[in-house]
Amino acid sequence: MDFDLTEEQRLLRDSIDRLIDDAYGDFEKRRTYAQEPHGFSMALWRRYAELGLLGLPFAEADGGYGGGAVETMLVMEAIGRGLALEPYLATVVLGGGLVRLGGNAAQRQRILPRIADGSLRLAFAHNERQARYDLFDVATTARAEGGGFVLNGAKTVVLHGDSADLLVVGARLSGNRRDRTGIGLFLVDAGAAGVTRRAYPTQDGQRAAEITLAQVRVPADAMLGAPDAGLALIGQVTDAAIAALCAEAVGAMSALHAMTVDYLKTRKQFGVPIGSFQALQHRAADMLVALEQARSMAMYAAMMADAPDAAERHTAMAAARVQIDESARMIGQGAIQLHGGIGMTQEYRAGHYFKRLTMIGLLFGDTAHHLKTVAAAGGLSADEAAET
């Protein structure tokens, strides 16, 4: 048992922290980035690449650095702290993760080095409106035709799908909408004929798109992984994304909690700092309890993100999200309340943390969904039994 980072991990964390502090320490800069065409800073994206962050989880043979879930956790925690807008989750964790785990050597070598050098951005176009949080609920079809495939369907809230160069599309090769088999993954150029994108900002200041696929033709080598391995791969990469989001949420929660405590020390009413009032002290203390519980579960998620047993891994991620979501709600709502009026303003940073945390709570399942997953698995004691 060991909670220490390796020397390499410490150096990595320090360099990410410096980058994010420098880029996002002044909240005004974030507004400037958000006004760029893609809703984030292209100059910063290049700096992510220069630091090696964009190739972090990829194998060295694929132009990466062979990092694991702990390295991703360090990056995402810094992203959460800075409320960074860059599409790290969409491109590196989701899109890059699907290619890394599902791609053949040719696909990996064609795509991953270009993600790593910052010249190619991906988005995972999978979710459909009727599916809610069910990964297997896919109505989009992939019909084999002329040695390739023809895709038809509609994808919703594709994170950073508005500006991605390459889409990874989940589509049904066979069966009915809610079958767990017959789902494939396809690499689709965002500019391909038949792809239309409706871009919009999300509530947390990030970007997304509705993507329609109408008679989109892709060649045979656009298929990622085996024809029927789609759902397993989607599950694995979604779990990695959940672990990454847990870390991002912890970064956001810890920054939000710290700024709230600072506010309690400086804001005066009735002639004294409001932090001298016990009602507010206890709320801030409970928020710290929630933060530490969340931090523990983000570590747990990072540890379990590469677990080979899919069911065990999936239950662990759901458990992590239950705690993260409970803590995020408690800290987010508490921070706004303790700030009072200033917390309600668009100008002030606290509200933006709250909004990001709230949106994280709706990605890849909400609290009720994840709690149901843990309950359906019979709880968390399964791993205890295995230990005994």
Partner: protein, 398 residues
């Protein structure tokens, strides 16, 4: 970073696990697991079995029976004792007065008390709380006045756990009424058979008789039984309470209770099936388990951080462990009572001999008293509100 135990730690855990199941009498473990009260002899028996193995006072200095262990080993032993429903070594001896004597006592006191304390030849009780001094412990009024080479002690202690079994008491007394309240307190040791001591049980809402009032009427205590310096007792008490908080999350105990909850939920009929088949029940259990997993990792972070901390200085995170750990202990007892349902109502002592048929499963009739009893865990050891004050002041700087 690796949350898994090392092979060495796993080997130790397995050794502890099999030792406890093999050496501790099964009937004692069963009684504790069911929430029954243990006899003094049960507790002494288990304590001595552990002590013979070197596991009653592993955190003490080596010369007094301690082990040269990593914090993880200490953690593993504590968790396994709880999970096996083994009564832990008596906390008053091993976690409270023992470390204080080892740290602040004279050589003569160490020789006289530490071996007997470690082996539970002396059963200690804690004379801290008073009727007017709960969370504001430093306001205590029991006074000790010098009379030659004795102190004369007068006053009253309360909530004195298992005083009815105790041979000795370690007691906070006021030796200077002029000084600031924290600076006039001393730490005295004396025998419970001393003339002038009266012990009166307090029956708690579960019907239990764990706690007592203890009255002192001109009790004569030899001056040599003062620990450390006169009027420095508050420092020793803070040292003691810091030790008390680190083990207080009792995660292993809650795990053991939740394992029983699963078993009973599967055995208890409800609707067309059992309580276990109810998705709402499963979700409630899952929510407790998620929080417990988080707390377990938080506790391991504290344990792992102990290496880098100054000896004797508790981690401020121990307040987090106290708050959340007590809440989850209470949640588990509440869940068990709800599984029992109507069978939790009869106030019939299952240990009382009777020819009548049982009203429900024995475990079910103990769930309500256990639930009532466990309201104490968010009150003792520094109430959860006091813990929030500590977090706000010591940790958040408010």
């Amino acid at each position: 970073m690796d949350l898994r135990f090392t092979p060495e730690e796993i080997a130790f855990r397995d050794e502890v696990r099999s030792f406890l199941r093999r050496e501790i009498p099964a009937d004692i473990r069963a009684r504790l697991s069911e929430g029954r009260h243990l006899s003094k002899q049960d507790m002494v028996t288990c304590h001595r079995i552990l002590h013979q193995r070197g596991w009653a006072v592993p955190h003490w200095p080596r010369e007094w029976g301690g082990q040269d262990w990593s914090p993880v080993f200490h953690y593993i032993l504590g968790e396994e004792i709880q999970r096996a429903a083994v009564p832990p070594p008596l906390a008053f001896n091993v976690s409270m007065v023992g470390p204080v004597i080892a740290q602040f006592g004279s050589e003569a006191q160490k020789r006289r008390f530490l071996p007997a304390t470690a082996n539970l030849d002396i059963w200690w009780c804690q004379g801290f709380s008073e009727p007017g001094s709960g969370s504001d412990l430093a306001s205590l009024r029991t006074r000790a006045e010098r009379d030659g080479d004795h102190y004369i002690v007068n006053g009253q202690k309360t909530w004195t756990t298992l005083a009815q079994y105790a041979d000795w008491i370690f007691c906070l007394v006021r030796t200077n009424r002029e000084a600031k309240k924290q600076e006039g307190i001393s730490f005295l040791l004396f025998e419970m058979t001393s003339p002038g001591i009266t012990v009166r049980p307090i029956v708690t809402i579960d019907g239990g008789r764990e706690v007592n009032e203890v009255f002192f009427d001109n009790v004569r205590v030899p001056v040599e039984n003062l620990v450390g310096q006169e009027n420095r007792g508050w420092d020793y008490a803070k040292f003691l309470l810091g030790n008390e908080r680190t083990g207080i999350a009792r995660i292993g105990l809650t795990k053991e209770r939740l394992a029983r909850a699963r078993q009973f939920a599967r055995e208890t009929p409800a609707g067309d099936g059992t309580v276990w088949d109810d998705p709402d029940f499963r979700r409630r259990l899952a929510l407790i388990e998620v929080q417990l997993k988080a707390l377990e990792i938080t506790q391991m972070r504290v344990v792992a951080g102990a290496r880098n901390r100054e000896a004797g200085r508790p981690d401020p995170n121990s307040s987090i462990l106290k708050i959340k750990g007590s809440e989850l202990q209470q949640a588990a007892t509440e869940l068990l009572m709800e599984i029992a349902g109507p069978c939790a109502l009869p106030a019939v002592d299952p240990d009382e001999p009777t020819n009548e048929p049982p009203i429900g499963p024995e475990w079910a009739m103990l769930t309500a008293p256990t639930y009532f009893n466990y309201r104490k865990v968010s009150i003792y050891g520094g109430s959860n509100e006091i813990q929030r004050n500590i977090i706000a002041k010591a940790f958040l700087g408010l």
